[in-house]
């Protein structure tokens, strides 16, 4: 669930291009502010990601089976990026209402083929860590592995809910040409959460999360060649390591704290507030002489965010939504042996958005539109490379979607997103334009199952004409009373 806090942060700031959690929302242009949907309720579980509130959020048994295919291709990329990627996933996600609690368990198996990865042996080279590992070849990487996890929520005192979540993931990677690098990514994360329901109109919660992940990379040629890799410190400077087998490890430990509240000050107005703080320590290590693990570098990430979201229903068929979020991400990295800082990065993101969703009275149609405007302030000091870059750019996103009810059982959906980012903190491009169209179908109201399907096409282009294309399709089969 949390590969890296910074990755998640950056992806949230940018745009969600990975597999979505809800096919209906995706098909309606990813309209998350104003749309009325079961997964967008303003409660502590959906809004605050507080597992303790699962007890209140879920009231029926369901098993979701979700196969998905996603593909990315383009030349809007950075030096160590891949040329194209295809991801195939299968997800089983079940919720069971127990006698004194609610249990949710899931297992995902994901296969990713990355073509023409330029030299990088690390799966995610750009996560704010300046310690890259690279060989000398361009090759394909195949990653695959499962992820399992569960959530359990129960009421141990009247109106006081407790939740626990645990996730475990393993991903194996293999490069198909010299240096035949193998990588093993292992992640364990979990959280404990509390929620107190003072009344039907007021809930408050807190969550503490721990994360421990490790990416081990071994370059070992099957031929008799020595494996030759380069340890980069920043973008410019690297030193060579050569042996029959070369190892490197990235180890991250993180702690995150979160508090949330939702309340209803007046009828038909729901408000949610949350704040998150996370601190992550990542060490880059390799075997060296008599030392089992030599710490080459150390990176620290500290993230703080505040968010507010409101839903207002002036009429029964109209919902107005409002959302605002502020994030402050700080990171720094040092060479451990010399205790010298080589990179310091501060990234602030502020966004504000609003929208409506409206169910027509005379037409079997729901219309939803949203507008988000934000500002990104990035201040990067790559001391070792003597590169100092500052950006203070705005961005906007327009999202719109339509859902047509063909019959009580069949729904057709379409959506469109358009956005322009003055600065893209993920790939570093300027004036990046985003166009995304989506379509989907829902087959509902059957006694034993429901089915949603979505397909999305995204086109992303920066100011100098580099572009990426994304295609994502996903199905969700929900079985009830299984």
């Amino acid at each position: 669930m949390k590969k890296n806090y910074l990755i998640i942060t950056l992806f949230i700031i940018s745009f969600n291009l990975t597999f979505s959690q809800n096919e209906r929302i995706s098909a309606l242009g990813n309209t998350t502010i104003a749309l009325r949907d079961f997964d967008l309720d303003l409660n502590l579980y959906d809004f605050g990601k507080n597992v303790a509130f699962l007890f209140e959020d879920q009231k029926f048994d369901v098993l979701k089976i979700r196969p998905g295919i996603s593909s990315t291709k383009g030349d809007y990329r950075r030096f160590f990026d891949y040329e194209s990627s295809s991801i195939y996933s299968l997800n089983f996600d079940g919720i069971k209402i127990l006698k004194d609690g609610v249990f949710r368990g899931y297992v995902v198996y994901e296969v990713e083929l990355r073509k023409n990865v330029n030299r990088s042996l690390k799966r995610y080279p750009y996560t704010g860590i300046p310690f890259f590992i690279a060989d000398t070849t361009v090759g394909n990487f195949l990653y695959n592995g499962p992820k399992v996890g569960f959530q359990y929520s129960f009421e141990f005192m009247k109106n006081l809910l407790m939740g626990i979540e645990l996730n475990y993931q393993i991903v194996n990677g293999l490069k198909d040409v010299y240096s035949r690098a193998k990588s093993l990514y292992r992640n364990i994360d979990g959280n404990l959460s509390l929620a107190y329901k003072l009344s039907d109109a007021f809930s408050i919660g807190g969550k503490i999360s721990q994360l421990d992940n490790k990416e081990s990379i071994e370059a070992k040629s099957e031929d008799l060649f020595d494996a030759e890799i380069f340890n980069y410190r920043g973008d410019t400077y690297s030193f060579r390591r050569r042996s029959q087998s070369i190892d490197q490890t990235y180890r991250e430990k993180a702690t995150a704290y979160s508090i949330q509240t939702t309340f209803t000050p007046i009828n038909d107005l729901n408000i949610g507030l949350k704040s998150d703080y996370s601190l992550s320590n990542l060490k880059t290590q390799y075997p060296y002489g008599m030392l089992k693990e030599y710490e080459e570098g150390h990176s620290v990430f500290e993230n703080l965010s505040f968010a507010i979201k409101a839903h207002y229903l002036p009429f029964n068929n109209l919902q107005i939504g409002f959302e605002s979020e502020y994030e402050d991400n700080n990171s720094w990295s040092r060479i451990s042996e010399l205790a010298l800082m080589i990179w310091k990065w501060n990234l602030k993101n502020f966004k504000i958005g609003s929208g409506y969703s409206y169910r027509f009275k005379n037409l079997p149609l729901i219309s939803v539109s949203e507008f988000v405007i934000g500002k990104i302030i990035s201040d990067s000091s790559k001391y070792i490379d003597n590169k100092y870059v500052s950006h203070n750019r705005t961005y906007y996103l327009i999202k719109t979607g339509l859902e047509l009810e063909i019959s009580k059982q069949i729904f057709l959906r379409g959506g469109y997103q358009r956005g322009k980012f003055g600065f893209d903190p993920v790939r570093g491009g300027k004036n990046v334009e985003l166009n995304k169209i989506s379509g989907g179908v829902g087959l509902y109201s059957f006694k034993s199952f429901e089915l949603d399907f979505v397909i999305e096409y995204t086109f992303q282009k920066n100011e100098i004409g580099n572009s990426n294309k994304y295609i994502n399709s996903q199905m969700n089969l929900r079985l009830f009373n299984y």
Partner: protein
């Protein structure tokens, strides 16, 4: 006596209520995150200012220093090597350098005599971020005058059955006069690992220690039976055969000038058409083979042939150390009077060789003297 109801009441949650346990876990987790303060100093702020001067007292009785203009400087650190040139005042100023140990080699063609090169070097300059290092390098004229090790091929050809028996060492006479190989010795230094290392002057007694293999040209030092002519390449093959019959990616060494032959080995190949260097250590029964990526090779004039107590540095004609990884991952061991640095060797089983950038030009600084060639060139540059 305890009855069943007592057992039922003896439950963990009755002693430690579940809520209490969770509160304890919460408190532990709250204090588990700990922010570390960032370092005060930053990297990439080092500065190096070098003045390159030529001490003309070598050719003139009056000692004067002339700034060396437009000299090529190779600045090497653990990160990389970069080339820059001195300005009109013989200065080089490099800024924004990352913290590391640096070595600088200066070269410039003599303004009058093309056979002379002005050479200077300084090793182990500690550059620390935020500090300015100012230093002077004095260049000396060096003429290409004598026999030197011109090429070492030891990595083995591209193969998957551990074939590396096509090794050779190439000598070159860069002088304008005939030199003689009589009695000269070619040695591999790889022992003395318990002390300062192979090729080091262990007791500071003027000789280098750690001889593993010692092979000798026929004759005695001073005799003139085995000439090496001016600008001639001489190939010393481990086995002077066409290795391509065994491994297609290997080299034809059947026309090598000399062959290492271990007379104490029952199975060493001997090409009767190629004269032999013979083994001086009866306890060694293997052919002359050197390590694929890391070793020390010495050519001496043979006047000191008692290898057990080390080889007198004054008798060393040339020596080269090569290593697979840069300092500080690997330690340099060969005495700096013979070689101030080391060659970064090519990967094993790559078919690549180490060759001097210019034939025979030896400034006793292998890092800048040698380059890696994609193909070995036995008998030619």
């Amino acid at each position: 006596m305890m009855n069943m109801s007592d057992f039922q009441s003896f439950r963990l949650e009755n002693i430690f209520p579940m809520s209490f346990l969770f509160v304890i876990i919460f408190i532990i987790l709250i204090f588990s995150g700990c922010a570390e303060n960032p370092p005060v100093m930053v990297d990439g702020q080092g500065q190096l200012e070098i003045v390159v001067l030529w001490d003309t007292s070598y050719v003139d009785s009056i000692k004067t220093y002339i700034p060396v203009e437009n000299a090529r400087a190779i600045v090497a650190s653990r990160y990389s090597a970069k080339i820059c040139y001195t300005d009109m005042d013989g200065r080089i100023c490099l800024t924004n350098l990352p913290t590391s140990k640096y070595g600088i080699t200066i070269r410039k063609q003599h303004p009058v005599d093309p056979d002379i090169i002005l050479v200077g070097a300084k090793q182990d300059i500690d550059i620390i971020s935020g500090k300015i290092v100012v230093d002077t390098i004095y260049v000396k004229p060096i003429s290409s005058a004598g026999i030197s090790i011109n090429e070492i091929y030891c990595s083995g050809p591209v193969n998957n059955f551990f074939f590396f028996f096509d090794q050779f060492i190439e000598l070159y006479n860069s002088s304008d006069e005939i030199k003689y190989l009589d009695g000269m010795m070619v040695m591999r230094f790889s022992s003395n690992t318990a002390g300062k290392g192979p090729g080091a002057d262990e007791e500071d007694d003027g000789d280098i220690d750690g001889v593993t293999y010692a092979f000798k040209f026929p004759g005695k030092p001073g005799e003139k039976n085995y000439p090496i002519y001016p600008k001639q390449f001489v190939v010393l093959a481990s086995d002077a055969v066409d290795h391509r019959f065994v491994c297609a990616t290997s080299y034809d060494l059947s026309s090598a000038n000399w062959e290492f032959y271990n007379q104490y080995s029952p199975e060493d190949i001997d090409n009767p058409n190629v004269p032999n260097l013979i083994n001086m250590r009866p306890d060694k029964t293997a052919d002359f083979l050197i390590a694929l990526t890391s070793d020390v090779v010495i050519l001496s004039d043979g006047r000191d042939s008692i290898w057990q107590d080390g080889i007198d540095i004054l008798t060393v004609v040339d020596g080269v150390e090569y290593q697979s990884n840069p300092h500080p991952q690997y330690k340099k061991t060969l005495d700096s009077r013979i070689d101030r640095s080391y060659v970064l060797s090519p990967p094993r089983y790559s078919g690549k060789s180490m060759q001097r950038r210019e034939p025979g030009l030896d400034t006793n600084d292998s890092l800048s003297d040698f380059e890696i060639k994609d193909k070995a060139t036995p008998g030619y540059q």
